[in-house]
Symmetry: C2
Subunit: 130 residues, 2 copies
DNA sequence: TATTATTTGCAACAATGTTGCGATAAAATT
DNA sequence: AATTTTATCGCAACATTGTTGCAAATAATA
């Protein structure tokens, strides 16, 4: 196992995740960081956090990529097999921790990871009659 | 309903899809088109095809975006609720038409579209022991 | 405190996607 | 078939997103 250092930039990124209830894009993280570090550094920190299983990467239907901190770090083996919801109106992405899809695969496939993203209207936007 | 014109460029793009068994990225389509039209035109054609429900857009876990022609055009209402498989080795994306996930949503969400992408090793790569 | 290995900033680059606008071509109309 | 209408195209320019190499800075370790 490699060692991943705790730098000020990494701590700052983690604090941004801590404060946010929704998944964040690189650009959103950068905006909240206010020049704590370089743009490139954020990419590298995100890469490390994903590798270390602290954050997971979500790619949206529209092609945008977001990141969210995992909130079930107590589990021994960490599998990101929960669903995400992407709101078409406010573009927020939230983890649907309770939603776990069941499916039957054809033979001869080895599944390592799954990405289950639903899109539509989130409760907040649904209530404001869009 | 709007009218979408049949241009030579659009026909050429559709032929590329017809020939391909896997989903294609914008870059892959451009390469196969051999300067039939401009790069920008391909983007616009793809947008139209997606809007017209002739092609669907798939965004992969790694952030790449691909497109595939729908092979069930006979259906009245077209819902892209089948799964896709993305191979980590050869990076091919194929439609898993037989795989339909079942799931239970929390209240207050309106689901319009779902994106279910599994990644791992496809049969072809699994057999060549990667 | 000194060492060493990771991390950072900068610069430069590559890939991807978007927009405006005049020119072109497909479809509809005469 | 010629004309009109309007979607589409090409070009140029730009914006965003992500990557790489390398010297300097910094965290962890001894």
């Amino acid at each position: 196992m490699k060692t991943t250092r705790n730098t000020t930039a990494k701590t700052a990124v983690l604090e941004v995740f801590e404060k946010s209830k929704t998944a964040l894009s690189h650009a959103e993280i950068q905006k909240q960081l206010n020049d704590v570090c370089d743009r490139v550094t954020i990419y590298r920190i995100l890469d490390r956090l994903v590798n270390d299983d602290i954050v997971h990467k979500i790619s949206n239907l529209d092609g945008t990529v977001k990141y969210a901190k995992c909130n079930h770090s107590h589990q021994r083996v960490h599998i990101h097999n929960h669903a995400h919801f992407s709101c078409e109106n406010c573009h927020e992405i939230t983890c649907l921790d309770t939603v776990k899809p069941s499916y039957i695969m054809p033979h001869n496939y080895k599944v390592n990871e799954i990405n289950f993203t639903l899109s539509g209207l989130c409760p907040k936007c649904l209530n404001s009659n869009i």
